[in-house]
Subunit: 440 residues, 2 copies
C-alpha cells in the first residue's frame, strides 16, 4: 500500500498549521478542567482563534472564566501563534525543502542575513532562545510591581502571562479592564511597551541590529523600520494627547504626567499589541478614526504583530511621492525599491481593504442593530489582530462572531497568503504590445 | 510699466478656473433676484460649489429657495463644471501652449484620437455641439412626460433643468424628494440614466465609438470602459434588488416591475450622477456600504463624472491578479499596461483614501454628534461628487459644511491634480542600487 504524498506550498502549509493549532486550542479550552463553568463551542473557537492569531479580542472574561489550566493553554496558543509563526514557518520550510525554489530559499536566508542553511537553523534556534530570555526578563521586571501587590504565586503568574502576552503582541490581560488600573505606572508602561515593540519590530531587524550596532551599516529594511517606528509612535502619542486632553472619561481627570503615560501607551499599543490603559469606548471619535488607521498599518514584517505592515505603508507613501515627482523609480535613503516590491505593497494593501470591506458588509447583514462606528472599529481591530474594542465583541451574533474569527485568521496569515495558497501560477511568457488607459 | 506674466501649469490653471467659477457663482446666487427670501453666504458658497463640481448635495431646497433666475445660474454652473471641465481645459491648454511639453500635448491628442492641433480644436467644438444636442434631445423626451403634467412653461423648464443636470452627472433636482415620484416611470428612468451614462463614460470613448463602431477596433480604454460599465451596473442592480427586496421603506411596497426599475436606477446613478428614486436614509446598511464603494469608484476619465474612475479600479484589480500570478507585467485583452499607468492608478486611489480619511477626521471634530454612518456616506458622496445623502447635509455645522465644500472641490479636480499643482518636479537622474524591503 502506498500513500500518495500531499504536496503543500509554503502558504498552504502555513494556513494548515494555523488552522490545526486553532482547532486543537478550541478542543483543549472545551475540556472541563479549562473553565470554571464551561464555555460554548463558539466562544471556545473564538478564544482559541483570538489567542493563536495574537489578537486579544474576547467574548468571555479571560481572568474569571478560565482556570489556571485554561489560562496556560491560552498562553501556549499565544506563544505558538506569535513567536512560533515566523520561526516555525522558516524551520518547516527549510526541513521540508519541497516546492521551494532556490530563489525562495535564498530570500529566506537573505531575510535572516545568513548564508548557509545550517546557519539559518542555528539562527532560528537562537532567536527562539533570545525570545524566551526576553519574556523571562519581562516577567521578572513586571513581578517587581505585581508580587508585592498580589503575593508570590499570583504575582508571578500574572507577570508571566502578561510578559508572554506583551512580547507576542497578543494584548490578552487577566483583568477585565485590561491595564487601565496601571495607567500612570512608569514601570508597567515601559516594560509592557518595551516587550511588544521588541516583538513587533520584526526578527530580521533584531538580528540586524545585534550584528551591526551602527545605524549606517544596517539594511534598508531595518533603517526604515526603526525610523518609521519612531515617527509613527511620536505622531500617535501627540495625536492622542491633544485629542483626548479635555475628555473627562479618558485623559481629562489624569495628572499631566499620567496624561503623558496614557497617550504614550495607547499610541504605541494600537498598531498591534492591543492592550489598553484608557477606556476605548469613551474615546473621542477622532481618536477612534486615527486608531483605525494605526491598526490597519500594524507592525513589522516577520514579527509577532500583524496589519499590512509599517514598511508596506512607507513604500506606498514613497511611491505616491515618486509619482508626484514624475520619477519612475521609487528610492529612499540612497537605495531603489524594486518594482515587484512596490506591486507587492499595493497588492497587500488592496487585499487588506477588500477583506475589511467584505467582512464589514457581512456584519451589516448579521448585526445591523449594532452601532456602525463600533462595528468598523472591531473589524479593523480584528484585521490588524490588535484586539482593542469599543465593547461590542460579546454583543455580536453567532454569524457575526464567525466573521470576526475569519477576519482574525486572515489578518494574521495575511489575506495575500490566502490568495497565494489558492492562486495557480501561470508562466509569464507571452508579451503584449503596450497600450495606455486613462485613469484620473 | 511691465507686468510680469504669471505662468500657470495646466493643473494650476484648472484649479484656478474652478475656483473663480465657484466664487462668481456664489456672488450671483447672493443677488436678491436669485432667491425668494435670501440665502446665507455659506449656503450660497455651498450651492455654487455643489453645482460647479456637479455634486448635487444641497443645504437648501433648490426648487423652493431659488427663483427662475437662481435656477438658471445653477444650471449654468452645472454646464460649465460638467461639460466645460474637459473641453475648456483642453482648449485652454492648447491655446496657451505654455509649460506644456510636446509629450503632454501628444497625450491630449492621443486621448482624443486626433493627429493635428487644428483637428483637436474642431473635435472639442463638435463634442460641445454634440453634448448640447444630446441635452436638447433629453429635454424633449422628458417633456413628453412633464409637459402634460405641469403645462408648457413649467414642464419645459423642469425638463431642461433635469436634462442638463443628468447629462452633466449633477444630480440636482427641482423636487425636494428628487425623483422618488417617478420610481416606476420607464421613460424617466431610461432618459435620465441614458443621459448620465453618456455623460459619464468619457468623451474619448464617445469619439472612439463614433469613429469605429466595431468593438474589436476600439482602443483598450474604450473596451475597458464599456465592458466595465456593463459589469458594474449589472452587479449594482442585482445587489440593490436583493438587499432591499424586503425593506418596506424602499423596494418592499413596490410591484416587481417597479422594484426592477428602482434597483436599476439606484444601482446606475450611485457611481456619480446622484439622483435618487429611493429614500437613501431608509436603505439597508449593507446597501449603504456597497454604495460607498460605487461612489468611490465613480465614472470614466474625461467625463462629467468624478471618483477615482472606473479604469483606475479595473487596473488595480488587474495588478492584484497579476501579482498573485507571479507575473511582472499587467496585461488585459491582449495589451500590456505600462508601469507608469499602474503607479498612477495606485497613486490616485491612495490620494483618494487619504483625502477621505482626513476630511472624515475633520468632521469627527466639527460634528461629533452626527451619526457616524451618515457622515461617512456624506464624505464618500462629496468625494465622488455624487450628491446622494442620508439626510445630514443641512445639519452639518458651518466648519463641517466647509469641509464638504473642500471635499467636493478636491473630488472634482482630483486630489492628484491638487498634489501635482503643488509638487515641484525633480529630475530623475540619479540611479541607486536596488535593495529589497519586506512588506507582508
Ligand atoms: K493583539
Ligand atoms: K452628482
Amino acid at each position: 500500500m502506498k500513500l500518495k504524498k500531499v504536496q503543500l506550498t509554503p502558504p498552504q502549509f502555513l494556513m494548515c498549521g494555523f488552522g490545526i493549532t486553532i482547532m486543537a486550542g478550541m478542543l483543549m479550552l472545551k475540556l472541563p478542567v479549562s473553565t470554571y463553568d464551561g464555555i460554548s463551542w463558539l466562544n471556545a473557537l473564538f478564544t482559541a482563534t483570538s489567542a493563536t492569531t495574537v489578537t486579544g479580542l474576547v467574548t468571555v472574561d479571560t481572568g474569571t472564566v478560565f482556570t489556571l489550566f485554561g489560562e496556560a493553554i491560552i498562553m501556549m496558543l499565544i506563544q505558538v501563534g506569535g513567536l512560533g509563526f515566523m520561526t516555525f514557518a522558516v524551520l518547516v520550510i527549510l526541513f521540508l525543502r519541497k516546492k521551494i525554489t532556490l530563489k525562495e530559499r535564498l530570500l529566506i536566508q537573505e531575510a535572516l542575513s545568513q548564508t548557509s542553511i545550517g546557519g539559518v537553523v542555528k539562527l532560528v534556534l537562537s532567536l527562539f532562545i533570545f525570545s524566551l530570555i526576553i519574556e523571562l526578563a519581562g516577567m521578572v521586571l513586571l513581578a517587581t510591581v505585581w508580587v508585592p501587590e498580589y503575593g508570590w504565586m499570583e504575582g508571578l503568574h500574572v507577570s508571566l502571562f502578561h510578559s508572554i502576552s506583551a512580547f507576542n503582541n497578543a494584548g490578552f490581560s487577566l483583568w477585565s479592564d485590561n491595564l487601565i488600573g496601571y495607567v500612570g505606572d512608569p514601570l508597567i508602561n515601559l516594560v509592557i511597551t518595551g516587550l511588544f515593540i521588541l516583538g513587533g519590530i520584526g526578527f530580521t531587524v533584531l538580528v540586524d541590529v545585534y550584528k551591526k550596532p551602527r545605524f549606517k551599516k544596517l539594511t534598508l529594511h531595518s533603517k526604515l523600520m526603526i525610523v518609521g517606528t519612531l515617527i509613527i509612535n511620536t505622531v500617535a502619542l501627540l495625536f492622542i494627547f491633544f485629542a483626548e486632553y479635555g475628555n473627562p472619561d479618558t485623559l481629562g481627570g489624569l495628572s499631566l504626567m499620567d496624561k503623558f503615560w496614557a497617550s504614550y501607551f495607547q499610541g504605541v499599543t494600537t498598531r498591534t499589541a492591543g492592550f489598553n490603559s484608557l477606556d476605548i469606548g469613551s474615546m473621542e471619535e477622532s481618536s477612534i478614526l486615527f486608531m483605525m488607521m494605526l491598526m490597519f498599518i500594524g507592525a513589522g514584517s516577520g514579527s509577532t504583530g500583524s496589519g499590512i505592515k509599517l514598511t508596506t505603508a512607507i513604500i506606498i507613501i514613497l511611491t505616491f511621492i515618486t509619482y508626484l515627482q514624475n520619477k519612475s523609480e521609487v528610492s529612499v535613503l540612497g537605495r531603489t525599491i524594486r518594482n515587484n516590491i512596490v506591486m507587492r505593497a499595493f497588492s497587500i494593501t488592496f487585499a487588506g481593504f477588500i477583506t475589511i470591506f467584505f467582512c464589514l458588509l457581512g456584519l451589516t447583514l448579521t448585526d445591523p442593530e449594532l452601532p456602525f462606528l463600533e462595528v468598523v472599529f472591531e473589524v479593523f481591530s480584528a484585521f490588524g489582530t490588535v484586539g482593542l474594542s469599543m465593547g461590542i465583541t460579546d454583543d455580536l451574533s453567532a454569524p457575526g462572531k464567525i466573521i470576526i474569527i475569519i477576519l482574525m485568521f486572515l489578518g494574521r496569515v495575511g489575506p495575500i497568503t490566502l490568495a497565494f495558497s489558492l492562486a495557480t501560477i501561470k508562466p509569464d511568457r507571452i508579451r503584449y504590445a503596450k497600450e495606455d488607459v486613462y485613469t484620473g
